[in-house]
Each structure stands twice: as C-alpha cells, then as structure tokens.
Symmetry: C2
C-alpha cells in the first residue's frame, strides 16, 4: 500500500514548492493572504457511525480543518462541505448538516458552498476551509532553525486513549473519548502565535507528535531532541493508560488526532511568550526539547537516550 | 433517501445567500474576485474502475471542477486534490496522480495542496478548484430575466449515451464513451461568455438540461419554454439512441455529465454574440428557447406543447 507521504512526494515532484504546509497560501490584499486547506473524513477509517453521533462528527469535520488554518497563524473565514451519503444514513445526515451549520456559526465561519452526492456504502466527508492572515503572521513548517525550542500547546495522546477505549468498547474514559470524538481546534491560540515573532515555525499535530515533528524537521532541514521528562503525564492519564495497557510515554509521543499545535520558538523569547500565553489562555505552553543540526527526532529520558516503540497513529486500518 | 436538493435547501436555510451558484465568490482585489468550487467523485456512483482508466478519471476529476469555474466566467488558477484510496488500487492511483498533475499543467492550474488517506473499500476523489475573474465578468444563476434567450454551448446527451453503452457493455460508441469518461470543460468559452455583457446568467450542465435549467429558473424566478426543434440531433446521435433503445429527445434533455454551458442571452444581442462565438470557437451556439414569466420548464415541438418522460440523470444509483 502506498503511504500518504509517498503519494505527497509523488505530487511534490510534479509541483515543487506548492505542497507542504497545513494550508496553501494564496494572494489576497497587499497586507493579507488567504490560506486554504482540505481534509477528508472517511467512515470506518476516521470515524465509526456506531459510536460517533452526528453532532460530534460535524464538529470534528469542521475543527480538523480549523486546526490547519490556525496552524498557519490565520483566522478561518469560509468553508465548503462535501458529503457522499449512503442510503442508510438519512436521519444521521440531517442532524449532521444542522450541527455542521451550528458549528460554523459558533466558529464565526461562513459555509459558502460544497457538493452532496450519494455513496454506495460508506459516508465520506470532505471539508475545505479558507482563512485570512496578515502576511507577516503566516507560519510554516520549513522555518524552524537550530537552537529553537520545540513547544506544544494542547494535549498529547488523549485522543488515542479515547479511541482505544471506544474501539475496545470500554466504559468510562469520557474525557478521553470526547477528545477523540469532538476535538476542539486551538483557533485562538494559532492566531495568537501568528502574531508572535519569536515563533519561527508551526503546524498542527494530527498524526502524532513523533510523525508530525519528523515532518517539521524534514521541512526545516534540522533534527529535534525531545526530553521525555518534560511531557506532562497526569495521574489520570497514567491510570487510563494502565487500564488499557498502553505505555504512557509512547501514547503521548505517537497518539494522533489531538489537534494540538507544535511550534518552534526562539530560545531567548520563550519565557516572554510562555508567560503571555499562560496569561491569555489560562494554561501552559510545554517546552519539550529543541532543534539541532542533523536529521530525525530523538528522545531522551533522565538525560539518557531512550528508544521508544512507536506505532504511528493510523486509525482503524492498523487495528 | 434525502435528495441533493433537499440537503442543499437544508443548508441554505442555515446560511441564506451563501449557496447556489456553480462556485462561491470571495473577495480578491478591487477589480477581481476569487471563485471556489468543490466536486466529489465516488467510485461506483460517478465512475467504475472496471471501465475507467486512471488517466481519463484524473482528467474528469479536474474538468468537472474547471467547468464550474468556467460557468462563473472565471479562469481556474489553483486546485486541491483529496483522495481516499482503497488498498487494492495502488498502481491505479500512481497513474491517476501523475495524470492529474499532467491535466493540471495542460489546463494551466497549480496543484497547491490536498489530503490523501486510505479508504475501507471505494475510491473517493474530492477536488477543490479556485479561479479568478474580473468582478464585472462574474456570471450567476439568479440573473436571468424574462425575454432572454436560453442558449447552450456544447453537446447534450452524448455522455448519457456513452454511459449507457459502457454500463451495458456495448462495443463501439467510442465518441460517446469518451464524452462520458473524459469530458472537456468549456474553459475558454466560459471565460469568453464572462466578457459578454449580453450574457445575463450562466451555469454548467452537469445533471442534464432539464434539471439544471429548472435550477436556473428557480434562482432567477422565471419560467423557461424550450423548443425541441432547435436541439441539434445528428444522424450519428439518432442511430446511437436507436441502437440503445433511448429516445433521442429525452436523452438530450435529461442526459447529464456533458459539462456544456447553459446561458441566458439578451435577445437583441444574441446575433452578435452567436456570430462572434462561432468565429472564435469554430462551432455554433444553440438558442433553444426563452425565459418567460412564471415557473418551471416546458417543452414545445412543432409549435405544440410536448410532454417528455424524463428520468433525471442519476448515475448508477438508478440503474
């Protein structure tokens, strides 16, 4: 099976310099740019109808796209909704559409078009989101530099715990299930990071810290060293992992679908940014390592190199 | 089963004035607007792998979107490609991606992003296209007025013949099969109509003349009277219909997937536009009727009202 990155590489060969960030940049005015992204959600790959209600699915379909826009430092403005609808899901889709419209209103974005069609069996959702940002606020993946701190805003691994609990039909784990079923894009945070000159690069973490940081490192032509001691593993997180027989560190490092933000910050500006962030958003920004010469992502624990057994987050395909 | 128009109406209720044309309009510069559209292609609904090669599918996936952009009077500039890929189609998708890139180059559009993912069984393609037009060139569906002539540029019913022949495994019908498998958007024509002040309204014909003209009439709050004598039914078309036991008139009126252009033209400017069109494009513009007070689409033949048994074009779902 062709991997996503092989496909993207094959497209990149055809269109160099066009593809790579969370969203593509288009000219708008002298001061501002549009950013545009699209994400697919496929039944029984990204969601299962049996445990995903239409309201959370609508919310998620929107927010995975809002997250890409936020990761560029931009403000989402417009969305287009494409749905391929199996015969059996009429009532579900009615609720989905209503909830999608509601989620758009809450996020202050306009639904401006789309496409609906029947589907032979699975439900497919394709959302395109368009945002606007002052040009100088745009953040990319290829602009991280040696010496930058690697930071994360938002949770790591929570959605993987929720997903695992849902797949294994475990009762409880409500907070974790919610993180998977109804992630909330860090819309305000992304825009705010856009205004911070000390933030040199940004992307959202949709496929897990390890996979996405590796992408950022490749784009920026640097390596990253991550100090696992700096990950914040709560008692609740540890207990949930224990119950599900997951390794807490690996879960944080490889769990996808959290839609947190991964950023590179100039080390001499980190303290000011961290303080201002906490004041504005009421929670902490985690500095978990730094960029260095070379390539690849390596992990350290208690000062020693640490090998982790990582399974890149890959939805139901690998379960 | 919820129809597409019911769904769109349900979305329209939530977002009045936002949805309706072939593409949505976004601000660009003082003189120009962006237009943006997205179309879904679903395996075994819009195409079948068993008779659609990856090259024609790539071409079609692009051109159904280019057609929407052209129908707004705009020039396509950028596309995003989303694909959900079943395990079994690796080699097919490799060729599809290469051909899609090639089709983009031929059309002068840049592939700027997208999303790829696995799919549990069916291949699912979602393309978003973005165009640019001078604001005064933009054409809509809601601006047709009483007395305008109803005109068509391009073929009617050819794709339905091809589709029928393919589904029934009939040999021959190559021109018709090509029309279904690899439609060519009227990119230049759409842009040119955009520059014509005498063209009051425009849309592309993707779901068949009857269905799409009805949509235009609803948007413009007018009725349309179509003179079936003005449809150009060639000998080749008639023979193909005869062989497949299709009614030639109904096939022209209800056949979808031709991606021709439907336009309303001020009657006093028709002759000049028709002449200039023929000179520029080497083929004729068909005037097939006119807009009038009221609602709905009615047909006349030899001066008499004519009832047609129409099956709205609905792909494999209805076969």
């Amino acid at each position: 099976m062709l991997s996503e990155s092989e496909l993207i590489n094959s497209l990149k060969t055809e269109f160099p310099n066009q593809i790579g960030d969370d969203a593509a940049v288009l000219p708008f005015s002298e001061q501002e740019s549009y950013v545009i992204t699209k994400d697919l959600l496929v039944e029984d790959l990204h969601f299962r109808l049996k445990y995903q209600d239409p309201i959370s699915l609508a919310y998620k379909a929107l927010h995975v796209n809002l997250s890409d826009i936020a990761a560029m430092g931009a403000k989402a403005q417009f969305v287009l909704l494409g749905i391929a609808i199996p015969m059996s899901t009429e009532e579900y889709i009615h609720q989905f559409v209503k909830a999608f419209a509601q989620a758009c209103k809450e996020a202050g974005v306009y639904l401006i078009g789309g496409d609906t069609t029947k589907s032979p069996d699975k439900l497919f959702i394709s959302v395109t989101a368009i945002g606007i940002a002052p040009k100088q606020n745009l953040k990319y993946r290829h602009t991280g530099t040696e010496g930058n701190l690697v930071c994360v805003a938002g949770d790591l691994g929570k959605a993987l715990i929720g997903f695992t609990a849902l797949e294994r039909k475990e009762a409880g784990f409500d907070v974790f299930k919610e993180a998977f079923l109804k992630p909330k894009a860090l819309v305000q945070e992304g825009q705010w990071f856009g205004t911070q000159q000390g933030v040199t690069a940004m992307m959202d973490i949709s496929d897990g810290l390890f996979v996405d940081l590796k992408r950022l490192c490749e784009a920026s032509k640097v390596a990253a060293e991550i100090n696992l001691n700096y990950l914040s593993i709560t008692e609740e997180f540890k207990m949930a992992c224990q119950h599900l027989k997951l390794d807490p560190l690996s879960t944080q490092v490889s769990g996808g679908e959290d839609y947190s933000l991964l950023l590179c910050v100039k080390s001499d500006q980190y303290l000011a940014i961290e303080r201002a962030f906490k004041e504005k958003f009421g929670y902490g920004l985690k500095s978990i390592g730094h960029l260095t010469k070379g390539f690849g992502v390596s992990f350290f624990h208690d000062g020693q190199p640490k090998a982790l057994t990582l399974h890149p987050f890959s939805h139901f395909g690998e379960f």
